[in-house]
Amino acid sequence: MEKAELAIIGGGPGGISAAVEAAGSGVNVTILDENARIGGQIFRQLEKGFTLTNPEAMGRDYQKSVDLFRQFKKVASRINYLNHATVWGIFDDHRIAYGRNGKSKTIEYKNLVIASGAYDRPVPFPGWTLPGVLTAGGAQNLVKNQRILPGKKILLAGTGPLQLVVAHQLIQAGADIAAILEVGDVKGMWLKLMQGMWGNWGYAGDGLRYVQTIHKAGVPIMQNHIITRANGNQHVEEAVIARVDKDWRVIHGTQKSLKVDTVCLGYGLVTSTELTRLAQCDHTYDSGLGGYVPVRSETMETSQKGIFAVGDGAGVAGSQVALTEGQIAGIAVVQALGRASGAEQKKTLAGLQKKLARHHRLRQVLDDISRPRPGLYELAEDETIICRCEDITFKQIKPLIQKEGIKAKDIKRRTRVGMGSCGGRMCGPILIELLRNLGMQVSKQPDGLNVRPPVKPVSLGVLAGAGDNQ
């Protein structure tokens, strides 16, 4: 069995920054990453075959990623980077099981950093399963990394700053954007927003640049607006939008139709917590942070000793926070392994924690705007799909969610919701929010949908060979 002083799951900014910090102090690190190359979603590197003709035009994220990759290269000799590695189980006795190249393997760790990231919040409404409706993150991936525009006339619907980033990228790639719908109320928040921006000048500058591009392209930003329906035969042809009140509830009589062939949904991100849940870390629920989040100490350690969680997977806050948290966890691991002198590291930690506090100030304001309100989960109609894998409709789960004392796992057992190939990653967060909206208690511990290995689809062949190398 392979062994690692530090195992890191996830090759995004959080995981890589933890690796750089620990390997820089002489720790032997193994990274398990699902992707082909380091970078995660936000710093994803172009596939072989594509060549950038103008790297400067790639923006600040790209430049930041170049810096991080350079640091990674310097310490790469102490890092065992395993790409295309899908972790499917975390077991007692510090063991991780993962699938790679059609085989299952096990690795034993002393310390573990989970940097599992986040994905776009799934929001069900009539027509959300039509081809042509995709997530903002998915659209961003297509445009940035695959260099393809998914359509000719695009509607952006959602909330928060990521929408502006995506709009900026789409416009630069030559897209025609019909409108950007911001479901939240930004107008009443300007003062708070300015206060949050104070000291976070990088973000402020970026935001301004995005808004300028959008205005120059003549794209309307429609505040307090939501998409209520996507219509079309086999593909999106029309989007119905409406004005909403402060609870994001549709104001009747304000519906309008837009002719579009693509809809990008960006309602913020939800955390990927399958692994921290599997490791039986304590969690709390905070929809502003993206749902279930592991409880952590100041050094990013979870309730399970030696298991750390960093980045968006531990509470959605963006790549800068992920980088900082990764560094903090890296230092904590170095200390735990007794490789650090102490005093100097304490000073660095204090500086990093100050940086985090500054980021969180801005984050809180943005969360205030984008935290899901009840109306968001009232768009589904009887025939709207809730569970995409198993084709389960709202009508099928409606009588159950209204039952006193019912839990998400009971609904799963009765309807098969959450049992499909996505492992409940799509319908799970929806189900919890539906229950919360109806005033049901959602337990602090993620009893939502239990996770069991394998947490990711792994072929039976891989599982069958699971004992091979133990």
Binding site: T51, Y119, T129, G137, L149, Q172, Q234, D391
Partner: protein
């Protein structure tokens, strides 16, 4: 609605191109493109038909989470079109 997606030419150059076969039809793919991208560029947005309602589904999350883009590649089912790179002459069934 087919054919509205298009490759971005600005700011990037592409490598070799080759053909892949999707449901018996030959389409062009460039090195580094996923099966989903090549199909989208050819106007093929429907990657699977849903199990119960037999509705068309396409790329949704685009980052390998939702499993909506599962296709069969060279006889192997449940391959994610949004993550899997196209290879010359690979045979895709949607």
């Amino acid at each position: 609605m087919a054919g509205n997606a298009h490759r971005i030419e600005k700011g990037v150059s592409r490598g070799n191109h080759f053909e892949i076969i999707v449901d018996g039809r030959r389409i062009t793919a460039y090195e580094g493109e996923t099966i989903g991208t090549a199909m989208m560029a050819a106007g093929l947005y429907i990657l699977r038909t849903s199990t119960e309602k037999k509705e068309p589904r396409g790329i949704f999350c685009g980052i390998g989470v939702c499993q909506e883009c599962r296709v069969t590649v060279n006889g192997i089912p449940n391959i994610q079109a949004c993550k899997t790179l196209a290879t010359p002459e690979c045979c895709v069934e949607s």
